[in-house]
Subunit: 240 residues, 2 copies
DNA sequence: CACGAAACTTGATGTGGGTCAATGAGACCC
DNA sequence: GGGTCTCATTGACCCACATCAAGTTTCGTG
C-alpha cells in the first residue's frame, strides 16, 4: 500500500535551498520571523529531500524530528492492523508536520510527489519555540485551522455521500491550488490515495468521477487533470 | 434535533464557583498560571451555566467569546443544510472551547448535561494570551492533542465497522471517566448523539449494543450505564 | 516501439448499515 | 396509578457502496 522504500536512511541531505530562494518563504512558519530570528532558525535546520513514495516517518516511532514542507506534497495516514488505511491529510509547501508533545508520531507521513523539507531536531525546535513567541503564536494558529479542517473532514466522512465527498474534495483542492475558474486542477495523488482520504474504495472514486464527467460537472484530462467548468454547480453537489 | 431552547439569552450568569473550589482547577488552562496570573485571569472571566439541551453558540456566528468548561458535558457539532449532523467531540471539565483566530465559530456547541463554564471576551482573552506564555503553550498542547484525537476519529469514521466504532467509543469514554475495570461507564449522552458522533444511525447503535450485550462483551443497566467486564476483549473488537 | 506492470475504469453481484414501521420502557405529571 | 411523551429497541426490507472480476489505459524500460 505504497510503503515502499526504507524510511529515514534514504533521505538525501544537502541540495538545500537558501531561505530567500525558498518557495515556501512566505507560507511557512518562518514567515513570521525577523531577520535575526530567521538566522538562528535556519541554523537549527537541515534540509532533506524525498522521492515520491518514500516514507518520512511511521506512526508510533519516537518523534525526534519536526519538519516544514517547502516543496511537493506529503500525505499523512493511519493504519489498522489489517491494512485498512485512512489518509488524514495532504500537506503542501508551507505546512508544518511532526509537532508532537507526546513521545511518538501519531501518524505516518509519506511523499506523494518529490518533496523538499526543512528538518529540525525536536529538542532544538522546542527551544526555539520558547525563545520566539511569534513562532508559537503562528503554530497555534496553524493547529487551530488544522483542527477546523479536521472537523470539516469528520463531517464529510461521517455524513456525506460518495458524490458529495468527491465534489467537496475537488473544490478543496481547487481552492488550495488557487487556480482560476477556467484553469484545471491537478490532483497529484492516486485514486487509491483519494479513496483512503474520502473513506471510499478506488472503484467508487472512479465511478463517481465518471458519473460527474458524464453529467458535465467536471471534465477529465488524463487521470489527474480535472476541469471544473462551474464551481457553483459543484458546490451544490457538495452540499456546502 | 436537540436545538431546543434559545441561545445565549438563556445563559444564567452568577452562581459562579471561586477558582479554589472549581472542579476543573487542575485540569483547565488556568492550571498553568501562577497566583498573580490567576488573579488577572479570573478577573477577565465571568461564569455561566446552561441546562442540558441549551445551545452555547452556533456555527457561523461571530466568535466573540471563548470558554473553559468547568462542570458537565458539552457536544460540538456541524450540520449540513438538510439536517444531517456530525458531532465532532464531547467536551468535559477542563476542556477549552471557542478558540478561533477566524471571525466565526466553526462548529456549534450545546450542553449535554447541565454545565458551568468560565467565559472570556475574545479580545480580552487574546490579550491575556500574549501576556502569559504558559497559557499559550498550554493551548498549543491542547490543540495538538485535539488534533491527534480528530485524526483518530477520522480513522474511525472512514474505515471502521459499526461494531469497531462502538467498541472504540466505549473504551474512550471509559478512559476519560477513569473508571476502574469493574466500575460501570456512564454514557450521559443519548443514542442519537452517539450515532451522530460515530457516523451511524440510532438503530444501528442500538442493534450493535444489543449484539455486544448478547455476546457478553458488555452489560447494560438502563440505557446509559455500561459495564465492560473485559476491556481487552473489547479492545480486540475495536481493532486497536 | 514493443513489452510488461501498474493504475484506472467498468460491469456484475453481494452486504452492512440505512430506512421505515411498530413495539417497548422509562420519566414525568396530574 | 394511569396517561402521555420521549427515547430506545426490534423487525422487515432496501440501497449505496463494497467486493470480485474483467478489461483498458498509461507509463516506464530495454
Amino acid at each position: 500500500m505504497g510503503q515502499s522504500g526504507p524510511a529515514m536512511t534514504t533521505v538525501c541531505c544537502g541540495a538545500g535551498v537558501p531561505c530567500d530562494a525558498c518557495d515556501a518563504r512566505d507560507l511557512a512558519v518562518c514567515s513570521v520571523l525577523d531577520e535575526e530570528e530567521l538566522k538562528r532558525f535556519s541554523a537549527a535546520a537541515t534540509t532533506a529531500r524525498l522521492e515520491a513514495g518514500q516514507t518520512l516517518f511511521h506512526e508510533g516511532e519516537p518523534a525526534e524530528e519536526m519538519f516544514s514542507l517547502t516543496e511537493g506534497m506529503i500525505k499523512l495516514y493511519k493504519l489498522l492492523q489489517d491494512g485498512r488505511r485512512q489518509i488524514t491529510g495532504f500537506l503542501m509547501a508551507g505546512d508544518f508536520l511532526g509537532l508532537a508533545f507526546g513521545r511518538t508520531y501519531v501518524y505516518s507521513a509519506e511523499a506523494v510527489t518529490p518533496v523538499r523539507l526543512c528538518r529540525f531536531r525536536r529538542t532544538a525546535f522546542l527551544r526555539l519555540l520558547e525563545e520566539m513567541p511569534h513562532l508559537e503564536r503562528n503554530l497555534l494558529g496553524r493547529a487551530s485551522s488544522e483542527l477546523a479542517a479536521a472537523q470539516e473532514q469528520m463531517l464529510l466522512l461521517g455524513r456525506k455521500t460518495a458524490r458529495e465527498r468527491l465534489a467537496t474534495f475537488l473544490l478543496t483542492i481547487a481552492d488550495r491550488q488557487r487556480r482560476g475558474n477556467a484553469e484545471p486542477v491537478d490532483l497529484l495523488m492516486s485514486r487509491s490515495d483519494i479513496a483512503d482520504y474520502l473513506g471510499l474504495t478506488i472503484e467508487t472514486v472512479s465511478r463517481t468521477l465518471s458519473t460527474m464527467r458524464r453529467l458535465g460537472a467536471i471534465a477529465l484530462d488524463g487521470t489527474s487533470r480535472v476541469y471544473i467548468p462551474n464551481r457553483e454547480a459543484l458546490r451544490t453537489i457538495a452540499g456546502v
